[in-house]
Symmetry: C2
Subunit: 219 residues, 2 copies
Amino acid sequence: MMLSQTEENYLKAIYSLAYANSNNVSTTLISEAIKTKASSVTDMIQKLAEKDLVHYKKYQGVSLTEIGQKIAVEIVRKHRLWEVFLLNKLDYNWDEVHELAEQLEHIKSETLIDKLEAFLEFPTHDPHGDPIPDKEGNIKHHNNTMLSSVETGKSCVVIGIKDSSDPFLKFLDKLQIQLGSILKVISKEPFDNSMLVETTIGSISISNQISKNIFVKNL
Amino acid sequence: MMLSQTEENYLKAIYSLAYANSNNVSTTLISEAIKTKASSVTDMIQKLAEKDLVHYKKYQGVSLTEIGQKIAVEIVRKHRLWEVFLLNKLDYNWDEVHELAEQLEHIKSETLIDKLEAFLEFPTHDPHGDPIPDKEGNIKHHNNTMLSSVETGKSCVVIGIKDSSDPFLKFLDKLQIQLGSILKVISKEPFDNSMLVETTIGSISISNQISKNIFVKNL
DNA sequence: ATTTATTTTTAGACTTATCTAAATTATTTT
DNA sequence: AAAATAATTTAGATAAGTCTAAAAATAAAT
Protein backbone atom coordinates (compact mmCIF):
# COMPACT_ATOMS: atom_id res chain seq x y z
CA MET A 1 0.00 0.00 0.00
CA MET A 2 1.50 3.30 -1.13
CA LEU A 3 0.65 6.11 1.28
CA SER A 4 1.24 9.83 0.96
CA GLN A 5 3.42 11.67 3.46
CA THR A 6 0.29 13.24 4.87
CA GLU A 7 -1.42 9.91 5.42
CA GLU A 8 1.70 8.60 7.11
CA ASN A 9 1.78 11.61 9.40
CA TYR A 10 -1.80 11.04 10.46
CA LEU A 11 -1.11 7.38 11.27
CA LYS A 12 1.94 8.34 13.28
CA ALA A 13 0.01 10.98 15.21
CA ILE A 14 -2.85 8.60 15.97
CA TYR A 15 -0.32 6.00 17.08
CA SER A 16 1.39 8.18 19.61
CA LEU A 17 -1.86 9.74 20.84
CA ALA A 18 -3.40 6.30 21.31
CA TYR A 19 -0.34 5.22 23.25
CA ALA A 20 -0.64 8.23 25.54
CA ASN A 21 -4.43 8.00 25.98
CA SER A 22 -5.19 4.28 25.61
CA ASN A 23 -8.75 4.81 24.28
CA ASN A 24 -10.15 6.15 21.01
CA VAL A 25 -8.42 9.25 19.75
CA SER A 26 -10.58 12.31 19.18
CA THR A 27 -10.66 14.49 16.11
CA THR A 28 -9.58 17.56 18.04
CA LEU A 29 -6.61 15.83 19.57
CA ILE A 30 -5.38 14.81 16.14
CA SER A 31 -5.97 18.28 14.74
CA GLU A 32 -3.75 19.73 17.47
CA ALA A 33 -1.00 17.19 16.85
CA ILE A 34 -1.02 17.70 13.07
CA LYS A 35 -1.60 21.45 13.38
CA THR A 36 -4.62 21.47 11.11
CA LYS A 37 -8.35 22.05 11.44
CA ALA A 38 -10.76 19.47 12.86
CA SER A 39 -12.71 19.39 9.61
CA SER A 40 -9.57 18.41 7.71
CA VAL A 41 -9.01 15.61 10.19
CA THR A 42 -12.51 14.29 9.64
CA ASP A 43 -11.88 14.16 5.90
CA MET A 44 -8.64 12.32 6.34
CA ILE A 45 -9.81 9.75 8.88
CA GLN A 46 -12.70 8.88 6.59
CA LYS A 47 -10.18 8.28 3.86
CA LEU A 48 -8.02 6.18 6.17
CA ALA A 49 -11.09 4.21 7.25
CA GLU A 50 -11.82 3.47 3.56
CA LYS A 51 -8.36 1.97 3.34
CA ASP A 52 -8.87 -0.09 6.52
CA LEU A 53 -6.10 1.69 8.36
CA VAL A 54 -8.31 2.99 11.19
CA HIS A 55 -11.51 1.94 12.91
CA TYR A 56 -13.96 4.79 12.72
CA LYS A 57 -17.55 5.43 13.70
CA LYS A 58 -18.95 8.93 13.39
CA TYR A 59 -18.47 11.06 16.47
CA GLN A 60 -16.63 8.22 18.24
CA GLY A 61 -13.02 8.97 17.40
CA VAL A 62 -10.56 6.55 15.82
CA SER A 63 -8.19 3.72 16.64
CA LEU A 64 -5.63 2.04 14.40
CA THR A 65 -6.38 -1.28 12.72
CA GLU A 66 -3.72 -3.96 12.76
CA ILE A 67 -2.41 -2.83 9.38
CA GLY A 68 -2.57 0.81 10.41
CA GLN A 69 -0.59 0.06 13.54
CA LYS A 70 2.00 -1.92 11.59
CA ILE A 71 2.57 1.00 9.24
CA ALA A 72 2.73 3.51 12.11
CA VAL A 73 5.38 1.43 13.87
CA GLU A 74 7.39 1.25 10.65
CA ILE A 75 7.41 5.02 10.48
CA VAL A 76 8.45 5.29 14.12
CA ARG A 77 11.25 2.85 13.38
CA LYS A 78 12.45 4.94 10.46
CA HIS A 79 12.23 8.15 12.47
CA ARG A 80 14.28 6.84 15.35
CA LEU A 81 16.95 5.21 13.22
CA TRP A 82 17.43 8.41 11.23
CA GLU A 83 17.76 10.29 14.51
CA VAL A 84 20.54 7.96 15.58
CA PHE A 85 22.26 8.47 12.23
CA LEU A 86 22.09 12.24 12.50
CA LEU A 87 23.43 12.22 16.04
CA ASN A 88 26.08 9.52 15.81
CA LYS A 89 27.37 10.01 12.29
CA LEU A 90 26.68 13.61 11.32
CA ASP A 91 27.45 15.25 14.67
CA TYR A 92 24.07 16.82 15.22
CA ASN A 93 22.96 17.61 18.76
CA TRP A 94 20.12 15.95 20.60
CA ASP A 95 17.88 18.94 20.07
CA GLU A 96 18.37 19.26 16.31
CA VAL A 97 17.59 15.80 15.01
CA HIS A 98 13.81 15.62 15.36
CA GLU A 99 12.80 18.04 12.64
CA LEU A 100 15.09 16.45 10.07
CA ALA A 101 13.95 12.94 10.99
CA GLU A 102 10.39 14.11 10.31
CA GLN A 103 11.39 14.45 6.69
CA LEU A 104 13.68 11.45 6.38
CA GLU A 105 11.13 9.04 7.83
CA HIS A 106 9.04 9.37 4.66
CA ILE A 107 11.71 8.14 2.24
CA LYS A 108 10.27 5.12 0.45
CA SER A 109 12.43 2.04 0.06
CA GLU A 110 12.20 -1.67 0.75
CA THR A 111 15.82 -1.93 1.80
CA LEU A 112 17.08 1.45 2.94
CA ILE A 113 16.11 1.36 6.57
CA ASP A 114 17.45 -2.14 7.17
CA LYS A 115 20.76 -1.21 5.61
CA LEU A 116 20.85 1.95 7.71
CA GLU A 117 20.13 -0.08 10.82
CA ALA A 118 23.01 -2.43 10.05
CA PHE A 119 25.31 0.52 9.35
CA LEU A 120 24.44 1.97 12.75
CA GLU A 121 25.12 -1.44 14.31
CA PHE A 122 21.57 -2.15 15.43
CA PRO A 123 20.98 0.54 18.04
CA THR A 124 18.24 -0.23 20.55
CA HIS A 125 17.28 3.31 21.49
CA ASP A 126 17.06 6.68 19.84
CA PRO A 127 18.73 9.80 21.27
CA HIS A 128 15.69 10.52 23.44
CA GLY A 129 15.82 7.07 25.02
CA ASP A 130 12.85 5.71 23.10
CA PRO A 131 13.15 2.10 21.93
CA ILE A 132 13.65 1.40 18.20
CA PRO A 133 11.19 -1.18 16.81
CA ASP A 134 12.86 -4.10 15.03
CA LYS A 135 12.26 -5.17 11.42
CA GLU A 136 9.13 -7.08 12.39
CA GLY A 137 7.72 -4.19 14.38
CA ASN A 138 8.40 -5.57 17.83
CA ILE A 139 9.16 -2.94 20.43
CA LYS A 140 11.00 -3.72 23.60
CA HIS A 141 9.19 -1.48 26.03
CA HIS A 142 11.70 -2.31 28.63
CA ASN A 143 11.32 0.01 31.53
CA ASN A 144 13.93 2.65 31.13
CA THR A 145 15.39 3.41 34.49
CA MET A 146 16.13 6.96 35.48
CA LEU A 147 19.59 7.73 36.75
CA SER A 148 17.96 8.78 40.03
CA SER A 149 16.89 5.19 40.77
CA VAL A 150 20.22 3.48 40.08
CA GLU A 151 21.56 1.82 43.21
CA THR A 152 24.70 2.99 44.95
CA GLY A 153 27.79 1.24 43.61
CA LYS A 154 26.15 0.22 40.32
CA SER A 155 27.10 1.42 36.85
CA CYS A 156 24.83 2.35 33.97
CA VAL A 157 24.94 3.74 30.45
CA VAL A 158 23.07 6.84 29.32
CA ILE A 159 20.49 5.95 26.67
CA GLY A 160 18.44 9.11 26.57
CA ILE A 161 16.95 12.12 28.25
CA LYS A 162 13.43 13.00 29.29
CA ASP A 163 13.61 16.77 29.15
CA SER A 164 14.99 17.87 25.82
CA SER A 165 14.91 21.61 26.43
CA ASP A 166 17.85 23.59 25.20
CA PRO A 167 19.18 24.66 28.64
CA PHE A 168 19.19 21.08 29.88
CA LEU A 169 21.00 19.84 26.78
CA LYS A 170 23.59 22.58 27.12
CA PHE A 171 24.04 21.72 30.80
CA LEU A 172 24.70 18.08 29.93
CA ASP A 173 27.21 19.14 27.32
CA LYS A 174 29.06 21.05 30.04
CA LEU A 175 29.17 17.93 32.22
CA GLN A 176 30.31 16.00 29.11
CA ILE A 177 27.45 13.59 29.56
CA GLN A 178 26.41 12.14 26.21
CA LEU A 179 24.52 9.20 24.79
CA GLY A 180 26.54 6.13 25.70
CA SER A 181 28.34 7.74 28.60
CA ILE A 182 29.09 5.29 31.41
CA LEU A 183 28.14 6.55 34.85
CA LYS A 184 28.86 4.93 38.21
CA VAL A 185 26.87 5.97 41.26
CA ILE A 186 29.36 6.41 44.07
CA SER A 187 27.03 7.67 46.79
CA LYS A 188 23.62 9.22 47.37
CA GLU A 189 22.84 12.12 49.67
CA PRO A 190 19.55 11.44 51.53
CA PHE A 191 19.20 15.11 52.41
CA ASP A 192 18.47 16.44 48.89
CA ASN A 193 18.61 13.21 46.87
CA SER A 194 21.65 14.44 44.98
CA MET A 195 24.19 11.82 43.97
CA LEU A 196 27.92 11.60 43.45
CA VAL A 197 28.61 10.09 40.05
CA GLU A 198 31.83 8.98 38.46
CA THR A 199 32.22 9.98 34.83
CA THR A 200 35.04 10.00 32.30
CA ILE A 201 36.04 13.46 33.50
CA GLY A 202 35.96 12.58 37.18
CA SER A 203 33.45 12.63 40.01
CA ILE A 204 30.62 15.12 39.85
CA SER A 205 27.62 15.89 42.00
CA ILE A 206 24.28 15.66 40.25
CA SER A 207 21.05 17.07 41.69
CA ASN A 208 17.89 15.01 41.89
CA GLN A 209 16.27 17.27 39.32
CA ILE A 210 18.93 16.33 36.84
CA SER A 211 19.15 12.63 37.63
CA LYS A 212 15.37 12.27 37.27
CA ASN A 213 15.67 13.38 33.65
CA ILE A 214 18.36 11.00 32.42
CA PHE A 215 17.35 7.59 31.04
CA VAL A 216 19.90 4.85 31.70
CA LYS A 217 20.34 1.13 31.13
CA ASN A 218 21.76 -0.79 34.10
CA LEU A 219 25.03 -2.61 33.56
CA MET B 1 12.74 30.60 -1.62
CA MET B 2 10.85 27.47 -0.63
CA LEU B 3 10.25 25.22 -3.64
CA SER B 4 8.12 22.10 -3.91
CA GLN B 5 9.68 18.78 -4.88
CA THR B 6 7.98 19.08 -8.24
CA GLU B 7 9.45 22.50 -8.93
CA GLU B 8 12.89 21.22 -7.94
CA ASN B 9 12.53 18.30 -10.32
CA TYR B 10 11.70 20.60 -13.20
CA LEU B 11 14.74 22.77 -12.51
CA LYS B 12 16.96 19.73 -12.33
CA ALA B 13 15.58 18.37 -15.59
CA ILE B 14 16.02 21.68 -17.38
CA TYR B 15 19.55 21.91 -16.03
CA SER B 16 20.68 18.56 -17.38
CA LEU B 17 18.84 18.99 -20.67
CA ALA B 18 20.40 22.42 -21.16
CA TYR B 19 23.83 20.97 -20.47
CA ALA B 20 23.27 18.26 -23.07
CA ASN B 21 21.74 20.56 -25.71
CA SER B 22 23.37 23.95 -25.02
CA ASN B 23 20.42 25.96 -26.40
CA ASN B 24 16.88 26.58 -25.11
CA VAL B 25 15.11 23.49 -23.83
CA SER B 26 11.82 22.57 -25.49
CA THR B 27 8.58 21.74 -23.74
CA THR B 28 8.46 18.24 -25.25
CA LEU B 29 11.99 17.42 -24.12
CA ILE B 30 11.12 18.35 -20.55
CA SER B 31 7.88 16.39 -20.69
CA GLU B 32 9.83 13.28 -21.69
CA ALA B 33 12.37 13.76 -18.92
CA ILE B 34 9.74 14.33 -16.22
CA LYS B 35 7.38 11.72 -17.71
CA THR B 36 4.43 14.06 -17.89
CA LYS B 37 2.37 15.72 -20.61
CA ALA B 38 3.53 18.77 -22.55
CA SER B 39 0.58 20.79 -21.30
CA SER B 40 1.61 20.19 -17.70
CA VAL B 41 5.10 21.38 -18.55
CA THR B 42 3.74 24.60 -20.02
CA ASP B 43 1.83 25.25 -16.81
CA MET B 44 4.89 24.66 -14.67
CA ILE B 45 7.37 26.67 -16.69
CA GLN B 46 5.01 29.62 -16.58
CA LYS B 47 4.97 29.27 -12.83
CA LEU B 48 8.76 29.04 -12.71
CA ALA B 49 9.04 32.09 -14.98
CA GLU B 50 6.82 34.01 -12.52
CA LYS B 51 9.38 33.20 -9.84
CA ASP B 52 12.29 34.27 -12.05
CA LEU B 53 13.80 30.80 -12.11
CA VAL B 54 13.63 30.39 -15.90
CA HIS B 55 13.70 32.64 -18.94
CA TYR B 56 10.60 31.94 -20.99
CA LYS B 57 9.01 33.32 -24.14
CA LYS B 58 6.00 31.53 -25.58
CA TYR B 59 6.89 28.83 -28.08
CA GLN B 60 10.61 29.50 -27.61
CA GLY B 61 11.46 27.01 -24.87
CA VAL B 62 13.21 27.83 -21.59
CA SER B 63 16.62 28.38 -20.05
CA LEU B 64 17.57 28.73 -16.40
CA THR B 65 18.12 32.14 -14.83
CA GLU B 66 21.11 32.63 -12.58
CA ILE B 67 19.04 31.83 -9.50
CA GLY B 68 17.41 28.85 -11.22
CA GLN B 69 20.80 27.49 -12.15
CA LYS B 70 22.11 27.95 -8.63
CA ILE B 71 19.21 25.97 -7.19
CA ALA B 72 19.56 23.26 -9.83
CA VAL B 73 23.24 22.82 -9.01
CA GLU B 74 22.40 22.56 -5.31
CA ILE B 75 20.03 19.71 -6.06
CA VAL B 76 22.63 17.99 -8.21
CA ARG B 77 25.09 18.35 -5.34
CA LYS B 78 22.64 16.76 -2.92
CA HIS B 79 21.82 13.96 -5.32
CA ARG B 80 25.43 13.01 -5.91
CA LEU B 81 26.45 13.18 -2.26
CA TRP B 82 23.54 10.95 -1.26
CA GLU B 83 24.59 8.51 -3.98
CA VAL B 84 28.07 8.33 -2.51
CA PHE B 85 26.59 7.74 0.92
CA LEU B 86 24.37 4.91 -0.30
CA LEU B 87 27.22 3.24 -2.15
CA ASN B 88 30.07 3.74 0.29
CA LYS B 89 28.29 3.45 3.62
CA LEU B 90 25.16 1.39 3.03
CA ASP B 91 26.59 -1.13 0.56
CA TYR B 92 24.26 -0.40 -2.30
CA ASN B 93 25.28 -1.15 -5.89
CA TRP B 94 25.78 1.35 -8.67
CA ASP B 95 22.48 0.52 -10.25
CA GLU B 96 20.40 0.91 -7.09
CA VAL B 97 21.41 4.32 -5.80
CA HIS B 98 19.84 6.63 -8.34
CA GLU B 99 16.18 6.09 -7.50
CA LEU B 100 16.77 6.56 -3.79
CA ALA B 101 18.86 9.66 -4.31
CA GLU B 102 15.95 11.10 -6.29
CA GLN B 103 14.03 11.13 -3.03
CA LEU B 104 16.81 12.10 -0.66
CA GLU B 105 17.88 15.11 -2.75
CA HIS B 106 14.66 16.89 -1.74
CA ILE B 107 15.27 16.83 2.02
CA LYS B 108 15.25 20.42 3.22
CA SER B 109 17.96 21.55 5.60
CA GLU B 110 20.51 24.31 5.86
CA THR B 111 23.17 22.09 7.37
CA LEU B 112 22.47 18.47 6.44
CA ILE B 113 24.27 18.24 3.14
CA ASP B 114 27.42 19.94 4.38
CA LYS B 115 27.59 17.61 7.34
CA LEU B 116 27.01 14.65 5.06
CA GLU B 117 29.79 15.86 2.78
CA ALA B 118 32.20 16.10 5.70
CA PHE B 119 31.17 12.65 6.92
CA LEU B 120 31.92 11.24 3.46
CA GLU B 121 35.29 13.03 3.56
CA PHE B 122 34.62 15.44 0.71
CA PRO B 123 34.29 13.10 -2.26
CA THR B 124 34.93 14.70 -5.65
CA HIS B 125 32.89 12.35 -7.82
CA ASP B 126 29.68 10.37 -7.52
CA PRO B 127 29.49 6.64 -8.35
CA HIS B 128 28.84 7.44 -12.01
CA GLY B 129 31.99 9.54 -12.26
CA ASP B 130 30.14 12.83 -12.33
CA PRO B 131 31.79 15.66 -10.37
CA ILE B 132 30.17 16.82 -7.12
CA PRO B 133 29.61 20.60 -6.97
CA ASP B 134 31.12 22.26 -3.90
CA LYS B 135 29.23 24.32 -1.33
CA GLU B 136 29.40 27.41 -3.55
CA GLY B 137 28.18 25.56 -6.61
CA ASN B 138 31.51 25.31 -8.42
CA ILE B 139 31.94 22.18 -10.52
CA LYS B 140 35.33 20.81 -11.55
CA HIS B 141 34.72 19.49 -15.05
CA HIS B 142 38.13 17.90 -15.17
CA ASN B 143 38.76 15.79 -18.22
CA ASN B 144 38.23 12.21 -17.25
CA THR B 145 40.08 9.71 -19.38
CA MET B 146 38.21 6.73 -20.74
CA LEU B 147 39.59 3.25 -20.14
CA SER B 148 39.79 2.83 -23.92
CA SER B 149 42.54 5.44 -24.16
CA VAL B 150 44.81 4.09 -21.41
CA GLU B 151 48.17 2.99 -22.81
CA THR B 152 49.29 -0.64 -22.86
CA GLY B 153 51.13 -1.57 -19.68
CA LYS B 154 49.68 1.32 -17.64
CA SER B 155 47.37 1.04 -14.63
CA CYS B 156 44.36 3.17 -13.75
CA VAL B 157 41.58 3.45 -11.19
CA VAL B 158 37.89 3.48 -12.06
CA ILE B 159 36.25 6.76 -11.06
CA GLY B 160 32.96 6.46 -12.88
CA ILE B 161 30.93 5.36 -15.84
CA LYS B 162 29.42 7.22 -18.76
CA ASP B 163 26.46 4.98 -19.55
CA SER B 164 24.43 4.35 -16.40
CA SER B 165 21.77 2.13 -17.95
CA ASP B 166 20.70 -0.82 -15.89
CA PRO B 167 22.11 -3.54 -18.20
CA PHE B 168 25.52 -1.89 -18.26
CA LEU B 169 25.63 -1.56 -14.47
CA LYS B 170 24.66 -5.19 -14.05
CA PHE B 171 27.32 -6.22 -16.56
CA LEU B 172 30.00 -4.37 -14.58
CA ASP B 173 28.84 -6.04 -11.40
CA LYS B 174 29.37 -9.39 -13.11
CA LEU B 175 32.93 -8.40 -14.00
CA GLN B 176 33.34 -7.17 -10.40
CA ILE B 177 34.37 -3.77 -11.66
CA GLN B 178 33.49 -1.10 -9.10
CA LEU B 179 34.36 2.43 -8.19
CA GLY B 180 37.97 2.38 -7.10
CA SER B 181 38.82 -0.83 -8.93
CA ILE B 182 42.41 -0.91 -10.17
CA LEU B 183 42.76 -1.98 -13.79
CA LYS B 184 45.98 -2.69 -15.71
CA VAL B 185 45.93 -2.77 -19.49
CA ILE B 186 47.93 -5.83 -20.58
CA SER B 187 47.40 -5.65 -24.32
CA LYS B 188 45.22 -4.13 -27.00
CA GLU B 189 43.83 -5.92 -30.03
CA PRO B 190 44.04 -3.60 -33.07
CA PHE B 191 41.48 -5.68 -34.97
CA ASP B 192 38.42 -4.76 -32.84
CA ASN B 193 39.99 -2.39 -30.29
CA SER B 194 39.22 -4.79 -27.47
CA MET B 195 41.71 -4.91 -24.60
CA LEU B 196 43.01 -7.46 -22.15
CA VAL B 197 42.75 -6.04 -18.67
CA GLU B 198 44.05 -7.34 -15.37
CA THR B 199 41.58 -7.02 -12.48
CA THR B 200 41.34 -8.38 -8.97
CA ILE B 201 39.62 -11.50 -10.29
CA GLY B 202 42.15 -12.10 -13.09
CA SER B 203 42.56 -11.13 -16.72
CA ILE B 204 39.46 -10.32 -18.72
CA SER B 205 38.82 -9.18 -22.25
CA ILE B 206 36.89 -5.95 -22.56
CA SER B 207 35.31 -4.78 -25.81
CA ASN B 208 35.82 -1.26 -27.09
CA GLN B 209 32.16 -0.50 -26.48
CA ILE B 210 32.67 -1.18 -22.80
CA SER B 211 36.05 0.50 -22.36
CA LYS B 212 34.71 3.67 -23.99
CA ASN B 213 32.14 3.95 -21.19
CA ILE B 214 34.42 3.67 -18.16
CA PHE B 215 35.97 6.82 -16.69
CA VAL B 216 39.41 6.26 -15.15
CA LYS B 217 42.21 8.20 -13.54
CA ASN B 218 45.72 7.23 -14.68
CA LEU B 219 48.13 5.92 -12.08
C1' DA C 1 4.49 29.95 -50.83
C1' DT C 2 0.83 26.98 -49.45
C1' DT C 3 -0.33 23.04 -47.42
C1' DT C 4 0.70 19.55 -43.99
C1' DA C 5 2.50 18.06 -39.84
C1' DT C 6 4.35 18.91 -35.41
C1' DT C 7 4.85 21.47 -31.30
C1' DT C 8 3.07 24.43 -27.92
C1' DT C 9 -0.44 26.67 -25.46
C1' DT C 10 -5.15 27.35 -23.63
C1' DA C 11 -9.42 25.92 -21.52
C1' DG C 12 -11.85 23.11 -18.60
C1' DA C 13 -11.89 19.10 -15.54
C1' DC C 14 -9.97 16.01 -11.82
C1' DT C 15 -7.45 14.78 -7.32
C1' DT C 16 -5.37 15.65 -2.82
C1' DA C 17 -5.31 18.13 1.12
C1' DT C 18 -6.61 22.02 3.07
C1' DC C 19 -9.88 25.88 4.76
C1' DT C 20 -14.33 28.54 6.48
C1' DA C 21 -18.92 28.54 7.75
C1' DA C 22 -22.94 26.15 8.78
C1' DA C 23 -25.30 22.07 10.48
C1' DT C 24 -25.42 18.18 13.42
C1' DT C 25 -24.42 15.32 17.42
C1' DA C 26 -22.51 14.81 22.18
C1' DT C 27 -21.61 16.54 26.55
C1' DT C 28 -22.26 19.70 30.52
C1' DT C 29 -24.57 22.70 33.26
C1' DT C 30 -28.26 24.26 35.63
C1' DA D 1 -34.84 17.06 31.55
C1' DA D 2 -34.10 21.19 29.09
C1' DA D 3 -30.83 24.58 27.77
C1' DA D 4 -26.19 25.85 26.84
C1' DT D 5 -21.72 24.62 25.37
C1' DA D 6 -18.39 21.97 23.03
C1' DA D 7 -17.01 18.67 19.59
C1' DT D 8 -17.71 16.72 15.13
C1' DT D 9 -19.25 16.45 10.55
C1' DT D 10 -20.95 18.29 6.07
C1' DA D 11 -20.97 21.46 2.27
C1' DG D 12 -18.74 24.40 -0.65
C1' DA D 13 -14.28 26.79 -1.92
C1' DT D 14 -9.25 27.04 -2.79
C1' DA D 15 -4.39 25.81 -4.46
C1' DA D 16 -1.07 22.59 -6.58
C1' DG D 17 -0.26 19.55 -10.07
C1' DT D 18 -1.94 16.78 -13.44
C1' DC D 19 -4.88 15.34 -17.50
C1' DT D 20 -7.66 15.50 -22.17
C1' DA D 21 -9.22 17.87 -26.03
C1' DA D 22 -9.19 21.78 -28.80
C1' DA D 23 -6.93 26.02 -30.55
C1' DA D 24 -2.87 28.58 -31.98
C1' DA D 25 1.81 28.95 -33.53
C1' DT D 26 5.91 27.05 -35.57
C1' DA D 27 8.44 23.92 -38.60
C1' DA D 28 8.60 20.83 -42.54
C1' DA D 29 7.26 19.28 -47.09
C1' DT D 30 5.75 19.66 -51.43
